[in-house]
Point group: C2
Chain length 203, copies 2
Amino acid sequence: MSLRYAILGVLDAQPMTGYELGGFFETSANWVWSAKLSQIYPLLNTMAAEGVVDSEDEVHGRRRSTRYSITDKGRAELVDWVGSSHSLPGMRDPMLIQALYMDLLDPEQVDRVLGEYLEVMRRRVADLREHQRALVEGETDLIRARLALRPARDHARMLMMKSMVFAGLIRQCEASMAWAEDFLMASRLGGCAIGVESTPQDM
Amino acid sequence: MSLRYAILGVLDAQPMTGYELGGFFETSANWVWSAKLSQIYPLLNTMAAEGVVDSEDEVHGRRRSTRYSITDKGRAELVDWVGSSHSLPGMRDPMLIQALYMDLLDPEQVDRVLGEYLEVMRRRVADLREHQRALVEGETDLIRARLALRPARDHARMLMMKSMVFAGLIRQCEASMAWAEDFLMASRLGGCAIGVESTPQDM
DNA sequence: TCTCGCATGTAAACCGTTACATGATTAG
DNA sequence: CTAATCATGTAACGGTTTACATGCGAGA
């Protein structure tokens, strides 16, 4: 249900075609939410039918494309959604299940799996920072479009919020990395529960 | 695809009926993975057909139940899965999308939404710790069954790993809470990007 | 000509949740 | 007797991914 609002939020800055939204959800927005074109196109059609977006056909020679823009109804729905609380989906990290049963493995295998996990996360954090830096320098079209729609006194607050989301993502990754490092360390020390305050549970 | 291995991991400690597994995934295991009976029953049937679990019918008076146990094939598949790397699913936290567009809200609304989020997370951490403490005292059937299958010298390592998973969950929650508090603070300060190292990006 | 990027979709499969259906046993 | 718990499922729906299908336009 969140893709709907992610899309509305993007269209609130700038009208876009489905294809453009698709590219967007494969690159920048990919960090927050991901979606394929095959999901985006039908969703845009339903949303147009519901009247939360307007569709306008464009013709370039023999080629056509449909540009979607947010309607007042759509904007109202977005504001309403952003302003209300939503139940958080339960933790669904496969790595946790793996970790739970890693006593089935040789210490070397644990080393390898956790090591690869750490490397992936390190790359992820690097990508996040790199992406952030690139944007700080490049000042994307979208954020400029967004700022242009609002008075200058709002700009600091808007930029702060967008950047905090990135900071949050980085924090999440770092928490996972710190955990993985502790796990690795504890595993290498042969299982004596060093660094762990309290001990067992089920599963 | 992970539920399959979560189930195999539980059955590796102890044979169980679908109903027992269901209760399990609603309480203890709920922190790591959740599943409803309506998903568990059909999955157990497919897994039995594939030969990764054995099913044995039990009759108590006029009542029947099917108890599933892991097979050698199932154990091999579990060990194989635990010992290999799996692509992590992208971040899918609705709160991130909300945060991204919170410049659409009054500061009071931001306060309310983030406040409720923080309260939910606080309760979650409390539940996690409470659950952990309860188990430290209670020493569940399942962990005892699991330890009984393995030599005493492995016990410390096994307990360490189970407990590290809980520690990881708590860490994740705490990272989210720290982020939400920063976000709240920054929002209250009216948007001047205090406490945020680097600034803007797209979306 | 052929490939790549633009542009739009459909179909099938998969995972998960909600709702519904059924019936036996046990505790109050 | 009634409600809760044990026990097993099916059906429908929603969200997501993968694979497939189609066609235009620009540049090598």
